[in-house]
Symmetry: C2
Subunit: 172 residues, 2 copies
């Protein structure tokens, strides 16, 4: 089984935009699945654990209380090594529309971002997810962009494409 | 009993700074009490309800789970009228040092800020609290500054001065 015969999905990269004036990052990606399926894959911890982050890493979700005021915590592992411990709060959850949350990790105790993910029905069974993040300074934003975040984002979304393709029965 | 004889504390205004480049607001205020007392008054819901917000308003705290990942919710009332319903999440709590939280209110469903309050011992039994808030855009920051926030901040901190004076036994 070779990659060339089993995976014919073209790599679709997320658009990652850094505002020139504000300490924000906007990530936009469309998915070939109806909004309720995308939202479920984004919010069901069993599914999230299957796609979040780069392919080389396993995500173990310890806490996932997806509701306004709930909290989450997950650990990134490679083999037996714990690479990073992420945590945050779900400030506000509007099912199938919008999730506003904080995001941080134990390894950089002062780093924190506020993020709003908005889910939009594009029609024809397609969905766009737009994530706007803000941090306290341009320096923190620069560190975020320099972290290699695009690898985890694009590999994670490619895994999510695969999960959604299974669910929608697409023959890709 | 007149104000002139019972209250000789000069009004001490908080410093409220809007960064010219970033969608942030920094609020700085010193208190004539040791850091553990200021931190307790900031975090004990029974005390918070006594000082938070303008004098014309009562704060009723419904939820207050002050820990990393906890949530809060409180209602501002004037007489029997519910004026606003505030809520948010405590992203991270480092006791006696720093609290990072979100802040929103039901009446403006999309408005949200991320705030970090830092407590610094100034020596001589005095404490500074510095709060840095960030929002997603300059427009939201302008709306925040135009909301009359300084009234609630300054009247609230004056009430906090009174609570702290009682606790430290200052004869003011």
């Amino acid at each position: 089984m070779t990659t060339s015969t089993t995976d014919t999905t073209p790599t679709r990269e997320a658009r990652i935009e850094a505002d020139p004036e504000l300490p924000t990052v906007r990530i936009t990606r469309s998915f070939d699945a109806p909004l309720p399926l995308v939202y479920r894959a984004w919010t069901d911890p069993e599914l999230v654990a299957q796609w979040l982050g780069p392919r080389s890493i396993d995500m173990e979700i310890e806490t996932w209380d997806l509701r306004t005021g709930g909290e989450y915590r997950y650990t990134a592992r490679r083999d037996d090594e714990e690479l990073a411990h992420f945590y945050g709060s779900f400030h506000k959850v509007v099912p199938n529309e919008r999730i506003t949350q904080t995001w941080g990790f134990d390894e950089m105790p002062d780093a924190v971002s506020l993020e709003t993910a908005t889910f939009t029905d594009l029609g024809d069974g397609r969905t766009e997810v737009d994530i706007l993040s803000v941090v306290f300074s341009m320096e923190e934003r620069a560190a975020m962009l320099a972290s290699g975040m695009e690898v985890g984002i694009n590999e994670g979304y490619a895994k999510l494409d695969e999960i959604l393709a299974e669910q929608t029965g697409s023959a890709r």
